[in-house]
């Protein structure tokens, strides 16, 4: 096993952790890391915040320093795309260079920003945000006094809105649904986010979709909404979600359904091919359904799990989902998967700046979230993992320290 060649496709966070883990677990064989980006593996969260604001360098996002990356002794192929997986001959065809054979293949090729199929979407000044180059390009137009329209009131859109306001731009957020982050948070948090952005003078337009973009005679942009409203602006960010890059796997006949299907060992329908990160769809027991988890935690932890699984180490990937977002001075965190079927218990007032919501099955906490309560949420995580019955009145009682629950 140890002399086998393991090929990782994708140099994002999942691919980077997979590569590091193969070496950490003692794999002495060849490790090939192929990706269409020019950078060594990096973390994406700062791209909508510190890197976008120009406060941090692109290099500061690297998973490990360059010397430590070199010490992994990988066959690293930057700026190369895999064009096909030939499963019969166990090799990959590349956009540049000879085909590469594999004994195990780990797909960590993530996704790409979803675009809007409307007229004018290709105009200069209209951006999406997925990689370092996107952040640099968008960052160049975030100048004081300019006007930014953000299409999509999800995490990327709201984080960019906060960064742009801090840089002195006028910002309008256009969201198609009737509340912010509807797909990922309960109504109390959507309301909190609306208050947060309103308090920073960002206009949020809900239930509105974009019909077209156009360039006006004065050179500025127009964002035209379906109801006829026209928003004059200097730049647009489209942040309406991610499309998984599962075409490569699908073309190779691997089972896919809105992502590459994997089991708890991160194996696809071909046992020698694994997948991890944004591209992988797995059955999450916390959610009770198959899903892709587009999170920092999942990129790291599933990348590690897939590498271990590729080496024949028994893994059962079933982490408690954990998510966070930073907007202005607010840190919002979510543990577990809240659903409408849960009973909700509030600790602190949901119309305040700092509160926690627990989601209970009977008297067992199965999810918790809230703004500006990171430390208390860490104790909540322990309650969720212990699956112990708790008196809901004590959960709600601010006089009972979280550490004593």
């Amino acid at each position: 096993m140890s002399t086998d060649t393991i090929v990782i496709v994708g140099t994002g966070q999942a691919g980077g952790w997979a590569a590091q883990t193969l070496r950490k677990e003692g794999h002495a064989g060849k490790v090939v890391l192929i990706g269409d980006e020019p950078h060594i593996p990096y973390e994406r969260p700062p791209l909508s915040k510190a890197v976008l604001a120009g406060e941090a360098t692109a290099e500061s996002t690297y998973l490990v320093k360059r010397e430590a990356f070199d010490a992994l002794a990988l066959d690293w192929r930057p700026s190369v795309r895999v064009t096909a997986i030939d499963r019969a001959d166990r090799q990959l065809r590349l956009s540049a260079g000879e085909p590469i054979g594999y004994d195990k293949l780990i797909l960590c090729n993530g996704g790409r920003a979803r675009t809007l199929p409307v007229p004018g979407v290709d105009l200069p000044g209209i951006f999406t945000l997925r990689n370092i180059e996107d952040a640099k390009a968008l960052g160049q137009v975030l100048l004081p006094g300019k006007r930014l329209v953000v299409v999509g009131g999800g995490w990327i859109g709201l984080e960019v809105a906060a960064t742009a306001r801090k840089k002195g731009l006028a910002v309008t957020v256009v969201e198609a649904m009737n509340r912010l982050c509807e797909r990922t948070v309960p109504p109390e948090i959507s309301a909190y986010l609306s208050r947060l952005h309103a308090s920073h003078d960002t206009q949020v337009i809900l239930g509105a979709s974009v019909a077209a973009f156009a360039r006006a005679d004065d050179g500025t942009l127009r964002t035209k909404l379906n109801d006829g409203t026209e928003l004059a602006c200097d730049a647009v960010l489209i942040g309406i979600g991610l499309v998984p890059n599962d075409e490569l796997a699908r073309a190779a006949g691997l089972a896919c359904d809105g992502g590459v299907l994997v089991d708890a060992q991160c194996r696809t329908s071909d046992a020698d091919i694994l997948a991890a990160g944004d591209v992988a769809s797995w059955h999450c027991e916390w959610a009770g359904r198959r899903m892709r988890l587009e999170s920092w935690q999942n990129a790291q932890e599933q990348g590690i799990a897939a590498a271990r699984s590729a080496l024949g180490i028994g893994v059962r990937y079933q982490p408690l989902p954990w998510f966070w977002s930073d907007q202005y001075e607010t840190n919002l965190q979510i543990y577990g998967m809240p659903t409408p079927a849960h009973r909700v218990v509030a600790r602190g007032a949901p119309d305040s700046d700092s509160f926690m919501l627990f989601y209970l099955d009977g008297n067992v906490v199965s999810a918790a979230l809230g703004p500006n309560v990171a430390r208390d949420l860490r104790f909540a995580r322990r309650l969720i993992e212990q699956r112990k019955a708790i008196d809901p009145d004590r959960l709600a009682d601010l006089r009972v320290p979280m550490s004593k629950l």
Partner: protein
């Protein structure tokens, strides 16, 4: 250890049992831990994401960073859990009477 130069850093009572506090001593941003009845000291800023470990979560002898939940062993500074890969600097500690002394040599 006898030739170390010791700096008075805190009162023993400043550090709650099985918890962590942040202090600044001699211009250094430090975290002091009380774990298993002993006191330990490390730098305060996580080697991964610039977060302050004194706002983290101490479990046994491991401090968990509040930002990304990387972990260090407070006795040695060694990383014990992803995403941290670089050790954090730890400092010799001695307790005399009700005072905590650190050595920065």
């Amino acid at each position: 250890m006898s030739n170390l130069e010791w700096t008075d850093a805190a009162a023993v009572d400043d550090v709650p049992e099985d918890d962590v506090i942040g202090i600044v001593v001699a211009g250094r941003d430090l975290a002091l831990y009380s774990a298993g009845g002993e006191i330990f000291a490390t730098d305060n800023i996580c080697t991964h994401g610039q977060a302050r470990l004194c706002e983290g979560f101490l479990e046994g002898h491991e401090i968990e960073c509040p930002l990304h939940q990387g972990r260090f062993d407070v006795r040695t500074g060694q990383p014990t859990c992803a995403p941290v890969t670089e050790a954090i600097r730890s400092y010799p500690v001695k307790v005399e009477g009700d005072r905590v002394f650190l050595a920065f040599a």
